[in-house]
Point group: none
Chain length 255, copies 2
């Protein structure tokens, strides 16, 4: 029976610990830093902090759960390591990442509400449809779940790159640049997911130690980019917009 | 002896973990977000945060307690898994959910006080009378406890849909829409409880693994809807009313 060798185990374990540290302290920073933007942008910063907080909780759970690979064979550990934490995390955080992006744009109430009413359910559906495919549940082949999950993904892409691009034109050049970058970063980080999904799609046996390790490390890097770096970019946008809109704020904050 | 199979156990375990994450981070968000409404609506938001905080504590306890189903037979685990956490949680949170709803309406002191004096004891009584029925305690058949518990429930329905409807007419259309939706969501989420109670009423043996799982998953979804989604709707109402009542607030918050 194959077991995970010590250096592979350590690489994943340290990556999950990096996940905890990144998520937890980005959260604390953002919760406190919300006061360094104008009131109208604080909810956006608070949603960013909520996302990294939710992820911090799940990285603590995954870190503990992953110990199974230290003491068990790869096959047994596969049954004990709980992949559900990642899906529960994404189910909550992926819709909220889109809320951050929309909230920081400071759009008119009706426009914001219309965007959120479409993006949030689509994001939740995209994650919910991926889970049975990855878990080999629900009686359908994984490829069918993968395709079903692609439909809300394409819809999100359409809303982000067609509808939101219209609103981006009203932002200042500095804001537009960061927001376009953040949007691209978010979508690029999601790209790790279908690659992993397709690679694992046709396997009927437990993945090898190397497959488990590359998957966990890939997901962790993608999560840190999509939640911490993305959340800090949202904070940067909120700071620039605050300084643009209030001379007093700009002076007080040394802009 | 029956044991709970791994995928059923995981489904409940992940649902309880989703409960922890939803309750804990809705709490932190609402505690911090209380500053984003006018002072007169902050108590309503703080009560919402208190409800999800109490629930977060109980979900941590239930998550740990549920591990009994991983290692024991279903019969033994039934004796070890503490259903009391749910009842203690409801005993504290169900009355407070009605306080949230009444507090955010911003009614005149005498009207608010009269509503709370009737709703809070009725809600506590409703939960307290359900417990001996579910636990087969108190020497009476479960159906009798179920019927007794229905009396305060019907009284709450009367107060919510007859008395509170009068006050809803004085709210703006936007507020009335969310409050009516929140009230319906709350009552609908309570509907899971009598269904589960009646299904379990006549059984004299420990429930099967499938019964335990559907019950725990059903209660968890109902709790997340009634506490997190409901609490965030109360926050939304508080935001809208704050913007309606103060032009300065509306301008500062970008409404």
């Amino acid at each position: 029976m194959e077991t995970m060798d010590h250096s592979t185990f350590s690489a994943v374990y340290n990556m999950l610990s990096l996940g905890i540290a990144s998520m937890l302290f980005t959260s604390i920073f953002l919760w406190v830093a919300r006061d360094r933007v104008l009131p109208k942008y604080r909810l956006a910063v608070m949603v960013s902090a909520t996302v990294t907080s939710i992820a911090a909780y799940h990285y603590f759970r995954m870190f503990d759960s992953f110990k199974a690979y230290e003491t068990m064979t790869t096959n047994d550990a596969f049954l004990h390591y709980n992949v559900g934490y990642r899906y529960v995390d994404w189910f909550l955080t992926v819709p909220l990442l889109l809320v951050e992006l929309v909230a920081v744009m400071g759009l008119a109430g009706a426009v914001q509400s219309s965007l959120l009413k479409r993006l949030v359910p689509a994001a939740a559906l995209m994650i919910a449809l991926g889970y049975p495919g990855d878990m080999k549940l629900g009686g359908l082949p994984a490829s069918v779940w993968g395709l079903l999950s692609t439909i809300p993904f394409l819809y999100i892409l359409y809303v982000l790159f067609v509808e939101i691009s219209k609103s981006l034109k009203d932002q200042s050049p500095a804001v537009r640049k960061i927001l376009s970058g953040a949007r691209l970063l978010l979508i690029a980080s999601w790209g790790v997911y279908p690659i992993t999904f397709i690679l694992a799609m046709n396997s009927t046996v437990a993945p090898t130690a190397a497959e488990v390790a590359s998957r966990e490390i890939g997901y962790s890097i993608a999560d840190i980019v999509a939640k911490c770096i993305f959340g800090l970019m949202i904070f940067a946008v909120a700071r620039i917009k605050s300084a643009e809109e209030s001379k007093e704020f700009a002076a007080a904050e040394g802009h």
